[in-house]
């Protein structure tokens, strides 16, 4: 017997209405606007001109380059540190929940507020970081005010921020590994390193693939942390500009929403592509 309980639509109505107006409509609208030019109240069709402008704009390429570099450097380093820390917490120490609670703190706190603290710590003259570096006779770069250092500073802050989520998810995955695997390995006299590479890592692969995707997507959307570090700017002389910064700038400040939406479509496609790659990767892993 097939039932069709129409009342379901009543319960779904609020969700469907809000989703239609504030998720589906804006995607279509962004897509349409990327082919229009003029100000927000006076848009007219202009074909592909926004995309042409975009691909010729050196600032756009700088934003894409910065964003891609940020993703390619901060994500693997952050993930590697997270694996190390999660593995140590899981296998070596007592007080697991104490360390978990500690490492997760940055996830719930405001990026803007912490960015202010980091700006202070990174200060070239009286910042704590450079004081420590000088004490160790290491070079003390001008983290915030030197355009060539902007991206490095953003990456360091990005890694610091990303650990929280990664560690907690990895801890969850580590707890799910069947403890019998380790018991058997112990019986055969496996060393700690062998257990890590032969049991832990293979078992973590689905989680790592998931985290890799989430981190890369997150990295492509980086905005708030840059805003916080450089006090509302994208670094000195826009040196640390990112994709979302570019979109915000074109949309709100320069007043060319068409170009902003063309950039949004490009960013959206990049993110979709990464998600697609992850699906493929997961499928491959599932088959093995």
């Amino acid at each position: 017997m097939k039932t069709n309980q129409k009342k379901a639509w009543l319960f779904l109505a609020p969700t469907i209405i809000f989703v239609t107006f504030f998720s589906i409509y804006p995607i279509l609208r962004a897509f349409v606007m990327s082919f229009q030019s003029g100000s927000l109240i006076n848009l007219s069709w202009s074909g592909l001109s926004n995309y042409q402008y975009l691909f010729k704009d050196p600032e756009f390429w700088l934003a894409i380059k910065n964003t891609a570099l940020y993703a390619l450097i901060s994500v693997p380093i952050g993930l590697a540190i997270s694996i190390l820390l999660a593995w140590i917490i899981f296998s070596k120490v007592k007080h697991k929940s104490f360390f978990e609670t500690t490492f997760f703190m940055p996830y719930v706190t405001s990026t803007i507020a912490i960015g202010i603290v980091f700006r202070y710590i990174f200060n070239g003259d009286y910042g704590l970081l450079n004081f420590v570096l000088r004490c160790l006779h290491l070079p003390a770069p001008i983290w915030i005010d030197d355009p060539s250092m902007s991206l490095t500073t953003i990456i360091i802050f990005g890694i610091w921020t990303s650990l929280a989520f990664n560690i907690v998810i990895l801890m969850g995955a580590l707890r799910n590994i069947d403890p019998n695997f380790y018991t058997v390995a112990d019986m055969y006299g496996a060393s700690g390193a062998e257990k890590f590479w032969r049991i832990t890592m293979p078992e973590l692969i689905p989680t790592l693939a998931f985290l890799l995707t989430m981190n890369i997507i997150g990295a492509f959307k980086v905005y708030t942390s840059v805003y916080a570090l450089f006090n509302g700017q994208a670094g000195v002389g826009n040196s640390g500009t990112t994709a979302v910064f570019y979109i915000y700038n074109k949309f709100q400040i320069v007043g060319t929403p068409g170009v902003a939406m063309a950039a949004t479509v490009v960013l959206f496609l990049i993110i979709l592509f990464i998600t697609f790659l992850q699906r493929k990767m997961m499928k491959k892993i599932g088959e093995n």
Partner: protein, 274 residues
């Protein structure tokens, strides 16, 4: 005789170093907010101020309407949480317990929308809100966030673990769907609802880009926007910036320390399924 296990010792050393790197910025923020101006710029840097300058906080409140920011943030985060929880609850109930034509279609649409990054729609949403004349209003601040596919999906997996025979039994006993939701479903999934509520409130509290777009009047700003504006205005007065940052972070940090177990468990569950 007990051998010292060097692996464990090394493990502790690495953990402690990283734990300090993680926690230090928070401690330094709180301490820095209590320093005098000279102490914030001294070399070598001051870690613990000689006198706690509580007056910094008075100055922060005098220079910017932080009380107002608190109120605005609390109101918007609460409304968003309550309404989106309510909507997700109803939606998740329908998707789990009811059979209807088009269910699969709705599920597919919602799941694909989960992949859409918020940054891709936030600017066109701004345009919608602006045309509705809702800039600088509470409604404008909350409207696009009154439903959450993410939380609905989360609740679906939660409700799915409650046996459907309970629903059938309730129906045979003559309960209406509405009664089932409030008398059985909600009490049985209190933990899940509470966690979703917490996560939603925290993300509402920390929201930045959306309120930056839809508010430009000082009286309508939220905490994080007020804080970043204050940080630019206060210029070199680092101790005031840090005091203001402390004000923003502390309520959530306290909430986090109280409910750490629920929050961490909630995040792990959320994202492995998502």
């Amino acid at each position: 005789m007990k051998r010292i296990r060097w692996g464990v010792v090394l493990g502790y050393i690495i953990l402690v170093i990283f734990a300090i790197i993680t926690v230090f910025p928070f401690i330094y923020m709180i301490l820095g907010g209590l320093m005098s101006f000279q102490e914030t710029t001294s070399i070598p840097p001051t870690i613990i101020p000689k006198h706690f300058e509580w007056g910094n906080y008075a100055k922060v409140f005098a220079q910017a309407p932080f009380a107002r920011y608190f109120f605005n943030t609390f109101v918007t985060a609460s409304i968003t949480t309550i309404v989106s929880l309510f909507n997700s609850l109803l939606g998740a109930f329908a998707m789990v317990n009811l059979q209807f034509k088009g269910k699969r279609f709705i599920q597919i649409i919602l799941l694909s929308l989960l992949m859409v990054p918020g940054e891709a729609i936030i600017f066109t949403n701004y345009n919608t809100i602006a045309r509705m004349g809702l800039l600088n209003t509470y409604i404008g601040l909350v409207l696009p966030f009154l439903t959450s596919i993410f939380y609905m999906y989360y609740l679906q997996s939660y409700f799915g673990s409650i046996s459907s025979t309970i629903y059938k039994a309730a129906m045979i006993d003559g309960a209406s769907d509405w009664e089932y939701i409030w008398k059985i479903l909600v009490p049985m999934s209190k933990g899940g609802l509470f966690t979703v509520g917490l996560l939603s409130f925290i993300s509402g509290w920390n929201s930045f880009l959306w309120p930056l777009l839809v508010t430009n009047e000082d009286s309508m700003r939220l905490l994080n926007n007020g804080l970043s504006a204050f940080a630019s205005d206060a210029g070199s007065e680092t101790q005031l910036q840090l005091a203001a940052a402390t004000l923003t972070v502390l309520p959530i940090l306290i909430l986090y320390l109280i409910f750490r177990k629920q929050i961490i468990r909630g995040v792990v569950r959320n994202d492995l399924k998502g």
